[in-house]
């Protein structure tokens, strides 16, 4: 299997006034193509810093990070932006959709920053992405006309549209109720089965049970790294969940 993410002895320090905070103190791990990895840990554990570096939004103080066999350590800001545009897809806790902009236009957004894609192709790719998250019939809706789960699915479509090597989800179910969370996890599992590599940051052990492996951070170290033995199928749990009154 191809290594999508390769991290070797990674360190990250922050300087807050005269105090130096060691957010990551020498972390190493690998994520292979087709994996669905949960990164867990309480706040202050370094998992957000890890996600920022994996997402090429931040650079490590020391150590190496190879994304799709490309070393990003010496890249300029603009090169990192290009890397994010071509290799990564982001899903955020608060969806971050542009208001008063249709679902379709929101999904098109990453491709607007890619000059090699013409308008017609851009539209088609966005339609395809929306179809793959099951929102073909909501294409021309504005975010405020969509439910939270639907908005998050638009955001997932947006992260898929540039065919990234890895999708990074940051607490992607944090704003959703249990049932919708499971629906979103079912969608992620589906995408994973189609071959997408997904890195899912969460602090809910409940949600992490749907992933194929997990990495647990504490105080800047990895304290636990294992393949899931009892991986749950979200689709199945969803069917067993009782349907509450007045809720679809």
């Amino acid at each position: 299997m191809k290594k999508i993410i390769e991290i070797k002895n990674l360190r990250k320090d922050f300087h807050v006034g005269e105090v130096t905070v060691h957010a990551l103190r020498g972390v190493s791990f690998e994520i292979e193509e087709g994996e669905f990895v949960a990164i867990m840990g309480s706040s202050g554990s370094g998992k957000s810093t890890m996600l920022n570096i994996i997402g090429c939004l931040d650079k490590p103080t020391a150590g190496e990070y190879l994304l799709d066999e490309i070393n990003m350590s010496n890249m300029t800001k603009n090169e990192l932006a290009l890397l994010r545009n071509r290799k990564l897809g982001f899903v955020f806790q608060s969806y971050n959709l542009l208001p008063r902009t249709t679902a379709l236009e929101n999904v098109e957004l990453p491709l607007l920053y890619n000059n090699t894609i013409k308008a017609k192709e851009r539209r088609q790719l966005a339609i395809n992405a929306l179809e793959s998250v099951g929102l073909a019939d909501r294409m021309h809706h504005m975010p405020n006309q969509l439910s939270g789960g639907q908005q998050q699915r638009v955001a997932i479509a947006r992260s898929l549209v540039n065919d990234p090597v890895v999708i990074l989800a940051d607490e992607a179910t944090g704003n959703l109720d249990t049932r919708t969370s499971y629906e979103i996890m079912a969608l992620f599992q589906e995408l994973n089965q189609k071959g997408k590599t997904i890195v899912f940051v969460t602090h809910e052990p409940d949600i992490a049970r749907f992933t194929s492996s997990s990495i647990i951070f504490k105080d800047g170290h990895i304290i636990h790294q294992a393949k899931s033995i009892d991986k749950l199928e979200a689709r199945q749990i969803l069917m067993e969940l009782p349907v509450e009154n007045g809720y679809e």
Binding site: N52, L57, R86, N96, R100, T101, P110, L112, Y113
Partner: protein, 406 residues
């Protein structure tokens, strides 16, 4: 990012907040509209003054006896009898840029017909005078060279005089009036010229051969003024110098001594009046320009608010591959679009307002293409200038902080 994507993104962003975009543009709209209107009014008044002055003969030159007065002190020989017919002959034979020449002698007095009388002036001239002053004859004829030679008692009269002594709509050609008891026969009527720029009634006159006025009314041999016209408008300054040189020589004025005459050209008058309305135009322009500046500050203000409000959006755009320059260009394009669209609306509104003011107040207004182009350019510059800092602030945001911004 290419330009069409950039403009698409900017238009989408503006469309998301139509009312705010419009209110932001309002400053620019009002600013540009007032610049266009003010300049149109300024230019219109300048043009109308120029037209009025040149209707008196734009290439006209006027020679007075006596030197230049400075602060009320006569500088040089002030012999008011210094101009003679020989001077005119000298100018006529030596000058190349002077076209027509006429001596002028003038007398004030009462004009009498029947039981009516009125005060007026009689101007003694030669036949060139009509051309120089751009006076035309309504009916009858001009006096002839023969009549000048014989100092014939003939005259042409202006409309005001007719109204005063004959009444409205009377053609007095052929009748005989008396000017200071001297009977003169009317051979023609002058066309109406209206008021001059200085508020003078240009129709209150009697025109007669200069010899008649010299001999029969004033009993003098010198002449009071010389009116001349340059062969063309641009020759006017040259004609003025020529007249000065010829007259100095003729009057035997030593080098360094002051002239005993003064030459004025209509050209100078136009310049004086133009400079007054230029000042007016500049003042109006400055006021309008200030409102344009305030419009620009309005754009800057809103762009700052917009950047803060859309911090998360900026973070998102960066996370999906937007570079600093892309973000900068997006916000810059937004502010340029705001100011340019505002500018276009302002230009249209300004042209409309200018012609509206022109019609309602019957003021002459001229919308110059330069002022349209200028205000359009100013708008673009305002867009760039006032959009730059907010856009740079957006571009310099850290994507991680921006994404977490609440």
């Amino acid at each position: 990012m290419n330009y069409s994507n950039l403009i698409k993104i900017a238009i989408n962003a503006l469309r998301r907040n139509k009312l705010r975009a419009f209110l932001t543009m309002l400053g620019i709209i009002i600013g540009v509209a007032s610049v266009i209107t003010m300049l149109a009014i300024g230019q219109g008044s300048k043009k109308s003054i120029q037209d009025q002055v040149s209707s008196m003969g734009s290439n006209m030159l006027f020679v007075m006896p006596g030197g230049q007065a400075m602060g009320g002190v006569q500088m040089g020989n002030s012999d008011s009898k210094s101009l003679t017919l020989e001077d005119i002959e000298a100018i006529r034979s030596q000058s190349t840029s002077v076209g027509k020449l006429s001596p002028v002698v003038r007398s004030s007095g009462q004009v009498i017909y029947g039981n009516k009388n009125a005060p007026t002036s009689i101007f003694g001239t030669n036949t060139d005078y009509l051309d120089i002053r751009k006076i035309t004859i309504k009916s009858g004829r001009m006096f002839t060279e023969a009549e000048i030679k014989s100092a014939a008692k003939v005259c042409l009269i202006g409309k005001t005089v007719i109204t005063n002594v004959f009444g409205e709509n009377v053609d007095p050609t052929g009748l005989e009036i008396r000017f200071n008891s001297i009977p003169i026969k009317i051979i023609g009527v002058l066309d109406e010229k209206g008021q001059s720029t200085f508020g003078q009634d240009q129709d209150d006159l009697i025109l007669a051969p200069f010899t008649t006025v010299q001999k029969r009314i004033l009993a003098i041999t010198n002449i009071q003024n010389i009116y001349a016209s340059a062969v063309s408008e641009d020759k006017s300054p040259l004609a003025k110098t020529e007249i000065e040189t010829i007259l100095r020589e003729k009057h035997k004025i030593k080098e360094g001594a002051d002239d005993d005459f003064t030459v004025r050209s209509q050209d100078e008058l136009i310049k004086t009046f133009s400079s007054i309305s230029d000042i007016l135009t500049v003042l109006l322009g400055i006021i309008a320009g200030i409102s344009l500046l305030i419009g620009g500050i309005g754009i800057m203000n809103i762009m700052y608010v917009s950047v803060t409000e859309r911090t998360r959006e900026i973070g998102l755009r960066m996370s999906i591959g937007g570079r600093g320059i892309d973000i900068l260009m997006q916000f810059l394009t937004e502010s340029i679009l705001l100011s340019v669209i505002g500018g276009i609306i302002g230009i249209l509104l300004g042209i409309g307002a200018a012609s509206g003011v022109g019609k309602m107040m019957t003021w002459p207004v001229i919308v110059m293409p330069q002022s349209v182009i200028l205000s359009f350019l100013v708008c673009t510059v305002i867009g760039v200038f006032f959009g730059w800092y907010p856009a740079r602030k957006a571009a310099n945001l850290d994507p991680i902080d921006a994404l977490r911004y609440e």
